[in-house]
Amino acid sequence: MRTVVVGAGMAASRLAQELPDVTVLGDESHPPYNRILLSAVLEGTHSPDALAMPLPEHVDLRLGTRAVEIHRDEREVELADRSRVPYDRLVLATGSIPTLPPIRGLVRMDGRLHEKVHAFRTLDDCHRLDAAVAHARNAVVVGGGLLGLQVARALSIRGLATEVVEGGEHLLRSQVDARAGAILGRDLKRLGTTVYTGARAVRLDDRGLTLDNGYTLETDLVVLTAGGRPSTALARRAGLDVRRGIVVDHHLRTSDERIHAIGDCAQHGDQVTGFVPPAWEQAGLLARHLAGEDVTYDGSRTVARLRATDLDVAVLGDPERAEGQVVEVTNPVVGSHRKLVVRDGVIVAATLVGDLSRIGQITQHYDRGTVLGAREPGDLLMGERTAGPVALPDDAEVCACAGVSAGRVRACSSLDDVRATTRATTGCGGCAPAVRQLLATRTLEGTRR
């Protein structure tokens, strides 16, 4: 059975490496790479050589190829060069395409972007921006979402005076609430990045980028990160059921039973994910389904983590829309906001900003649907308690190797005496500090009792 995958992004390559007989059509010229690490490459913390995720030899990978039409009756995909590729199963993994904000002057007369303007989605985008950074002093990032903040931090770390323009009332508005957004804004400011919220860029010209509040930001670079939408044009033209994304069922099947869709382009129920882990979950599940296993997809739990130096953000599920009781701790003094949404004892969503402690545990509970006790959500949000020093009772074991109690150590006159009469400290040696402490406070302890 021949499977053809349209797209060669993260979801597509994950699927392809699981399938025996598969053709992958990718419109970029690079072999598959880890797209989500591009901002780390820009930041300089990830070597561009370490991005590659090459496919196994058996995969028929065709790069620089664009699919323009699906001929469902003939079961063929037509390419830009008019050639056709037959399939038994077709998988659409076309991802998303960045939306261009309505800024005058963004697109030149010839249809290309203004020379200062950069998108940030592909490896080519990343290389181009990386090259431009060397000659720039300042930059404006349009969009205050996860990608926008990552790019802003990267540019700032590269030494550019960076500003962020966000049309919504606060940063990360599709993920977190206003208080979390405000904390992030302050964090960025502390790190030297100015944030304009509730402001839209309206015009780009020689003076700079003008906002609808009247400010004009002089800038060498404008980076567009203001969201994307599922790439559905191919599916739409083929007459498949498309709403926000390409509609799929619990087998990730579109309205044509021979065509599947996974990743950012697909819509399952109300969910269009936009993250890699659910896309990989879908890819893994579809591979098993295509291999004949009886498996079904019933949605993904998402964990969004901001990958930017010195900004701590995790968003589990959809905390602003999830139903449940909210347990939260906000500490504006240190700049942290931690919120759990709990339903029937289960964490159904969470926001952690500025303090990620216990994130590993919280994520485990969220992913596994652990039913927690009444006090646990509160306990999970509080920091670790540090216990004060406690005087050891005489029957407390000090040396596990030799089985020696505090009382027996206290009865000794010196470290040599301890070694000779009890053998404490002569095994693993771990109790030596405790023994010295006991000997030093011996008189005091004795008189106190």
């Binding site: 790479y33 880890n34 050589d49 995720m53 964990v303 006790g373 693993c428 771990g430």
Partner: protein
């Protein structure tokens, strides 16, 4: 009399001295591994001498009463011989199985393999070492072409820069070894411990990672990702001394820190700090132990950590590299000399015609009479008493019903045997089920060699006369061999057997032919193949090490709403393995099993410290007192395995390569 401790793989040197009728343990400061230090197990090692539960006469199950009764040696051995011959002629040679142990001396382990292959002619021989370090063994063979737990002396770790302990609680399981950690830190080195529990070992570390049980593998992939991203891999080493890096690199590209965090519960920032620490260090030593290895993906987990060591260019470098901290006293030697289903002495493979030819010549039998590969330990037990499975089992040095996973099932297999013969020093839980029990000598009552975790062959010397009525395991094997019509005679003299072992192992991967008792005495032990391996070449024919790309599959039994917690098992300081010995030593505390759980979990289920809780898995349940501690993950409970019951809970899912059961993680429920 200079000898070594009867317990773990450190094989601490000690001096046994007769004081009147008593036998006392004294330090032996000159022996380099422990320099006179011992833990309480070692100090009390003579506690079984003259113990009232010591067996001094063979026992035979009386047909009329069903009870065990005392019998003479000839009666017992004749009975065993006759029954074995009968079963063999009815069902074929493979109807008789042999089960050994990693605590047996090299001589016994060697002789047991020979007893199976030559005297009994059965392929069905394996041992409890499968449940010890077998995953590390199969990984090291694959990566380096040889399996020697530590390819360097343990003391070398004192001079490394960063020591990473993956799933090792050596401060409790081999306390004198922890002295090396303290010295390393005194020298400015950095200790990293990775464990779901903050153990006493973790308390002595500079960095502590506390992952979900069964997720050590993605931590290694995450480190490989970070090292590659930072350009911190040793390109020159990879180019000149290894193959396979590209596949590993591709696998690691998919494991960025936040993804690792979601799977392992280890914070991305913590992983990044560890990555930076490793990237900046000149010498890194990575050691794995049971925590990383006792999984259905144990081999892959070790391979992933070896990949980290190779990416950093460490193996073969002084005071750096990868090693496994073997567990059982003779875990190393026990896997080298042929009590393993697929091996012949000298770490030769039984399906290699040249190996068969060589060993058969030493044994004085035609090579074609040697059987082929048999079942691995758990598969062997699982087949007992079934159609086509063995009908009789001889057990030496193992307390199966306590130490095997899914123990209730294993017990039912033993019940279906026609004949169970157990050689032991006391009436262990397994011996109590036997048809014939053969009382044997122990430790200070006999002489023999062990190979410690460093590959150092050491000599345990007889210090006292055995009690009247017991025989050495070698003597018992000779007796059985004679009664089943062995084509060759079996020696019962350890030094003679050792010399024969040397000839049989000559030219093999673990070649003992140059080692003698006298050399061991003079040199404080002798390393096979020398103290340090890999400086110039790895043991594969081309001299190169192999990177092996692995993917994370996760525990065989994931948690779910019915069994929402992870169960992990392990040891406590004062007990050893199935406890057959240590539970009988009066001076060692024996409070029975307990269930360690976190205060958050305790509050959730209404458990109180010291009060009983019930742990349930798909295979069984255990009631034991709760120990409420904040040193364990809130989603995990821990139960020590020295007592009957714990292994009724554990999962028998096996590693595809090492056939190691998944002792270290399964799904459980806990109620107060």
């Amino acid at each position: 009399m200079k000898t070594h401790c009867p317990y773990c793989s450190l094989q601490c040197g000690m001096d046994l001295e007769r004081v009147g009728r008593a036998l006392e343990v004294r330090p032996w400061p000159e022996f380099p591994v422990n320099e006179g230090a011992l833990c309480r197990k070692g100090w009390t090692a003579t506690g079984l001498r003259g113990h009232r539960e010591r067996l001094t006469s063979p026992l035979v199950r009386d047909r009329a009463t069903g009870e065990l009764r005392a019998a003479g040696w000839d009666e017992a051995l004749d009975l065993v011989g006759a029954r074995l011959r009968g079963l063999r002629s009815s069902y074929g040679a493979d109807a008789v199985a042999v089960f050994g142990g990693g605590g047996l001396t090299n001589e016994k382990a060697y002789q047991l393999g020979k007893l199976a292959r030559v005297a009994l002619g059965t392929s069905q021989v394996d041992y409890n070492g499968r449940w010890c370090m077998s995953s590390a063994a199969s990984a090291a063979n694959r990566a380096f072409g040889v399996d020697r737990g530590l390819p360097f002396p343990l003391a070398d770790i004192e001079h490394t820069d960063v020591l990473v302990l993956v799933g090792s609680n050596l401060a409790e399981t081999m306390p004198p070894a922890a002295r090396h950690l303290d010295r390393l830190r005194d020298h400015g080195g950095h200790v990293v411990v990775i464990d779901p529990r903050r153990t006493p070992t973790a308390d002595r570390a500079d960095t502590f990672l506390q992952p979900v049980p069964g997720t050590d593998l993605p931590i290694a992939l995450g480190l490989l990702h970070l090292l590659d991203a930072a350009g911190a891999v040793d390109e020159e080493f990879i180019e000149s001394r290894t193959t396979g890096w590209d596949d590993v690199r591709r696998a690691a590209a998919a494991w960025w820190p936040e993804r690792v965090e979601r799977v392992t519960g280890v914070e991305a920032a913590q992983l990044r700090r560890l990555g930076t620490l490793l990237a900046d260090a000149e010498k890194v030593t990575i050691l794995t132990a049971r925590g990383a290895e006792q999984h259905a993906q144990g081999t892959d987990t070790v391979l992933a950590w070896i990949d980290v060591a190779l990416a950093l260019g460490m193996p073969g470098r002084a005071n750096a590299g990868y090693g496994c901290l073997t567990g059982q006293g003779n875990g190393q030697g026990g896997r080298e000399h042929g009590q393993k289903a697929d091996q012949l002495p000298g770490y030769r493979m039984i399906d290699d015609p040249a190996a068969r030819e060589h060993v058969a010549r030493v044994w004085g039998v035609p090579a074609e009479t040697l059987p082929g590969k048999g079942r691995s330990a758990y598969e062997l037990l699982d087949a007992l008493g079934t159609d086509g499975g063995p009908k009789a089992l001889l057990v030496f040095g193992s307390n199966i019903v306590v130490s095997a996973p899914n123990a209730t099932h294993v017990r039912s297999r033993l019940d279906d045997l026609d004949l169970l013969v157990v050689a032991d020093i006391v009436l262990s839980e397994t011996a109590a089920l036997a048809d014939v029990v053969l009382p044997v000598t122990q430790w200070a009552e006999e002489t023999g060699t062990m190979t410690n975790l460093e590959g150092r062959v050491i000599l345990r010397q007889q210090a006292v006369e055995p009690p009247e009525g017991v025989r050495s395991d070698l003597d018992v094997m000779a007796g059985i061999a004679a009664r089943v019509g062995s084509p060759v005679e079996f020696s019962a003299d350890p030094e003679e057997v050792f010399a024969e072992l040397g000839r049989a192992s000559a030219g093999g991967r673990a070649d003992y032919s140059e080692i003698t008792y006298d050399r061991i005495r003079e040199e404080h032990g002798v390393f096979w193949a020398g103290p340090r391996l890999f400086a110039d070449a790895f043991a594969h024919d081309d001299g190169l090490a192999r990177f092996v790309a692995v993917e994370h599959r996760g525990p065989a039994e994931p948690v779910d709403p019915a069994y929402p917690l992870h169960l992990t098992t392990g040891r406590v300081l004062a007990q050893y393995q199935s406890g057959a010995q240590t539970r009988r030593v009066r001076e060692l505390p024996d409070d029975g099993p307990f269930v360690e759980l976190h205060p958050m979990l305790a509050r959730r289920i209404g458990a109180y410290d010291g009060e009983p809780v019930v742990v349930t898995t798909r295979r069984g349940e255990l009631k034991a007192p709760a120990r409420v501690v904040d040193t364990i993950r809130p989603d995990t409970v821990f139960v020590p395995f020295h007592w009957v019951g714990t292994n009724r809970l554990t999962n028998d899912a096996l590693d595809p390569s090492s056939r190691m059961p998944e002792f270290k993680v399964c799904a459980c429920a806990v109620t107060a």
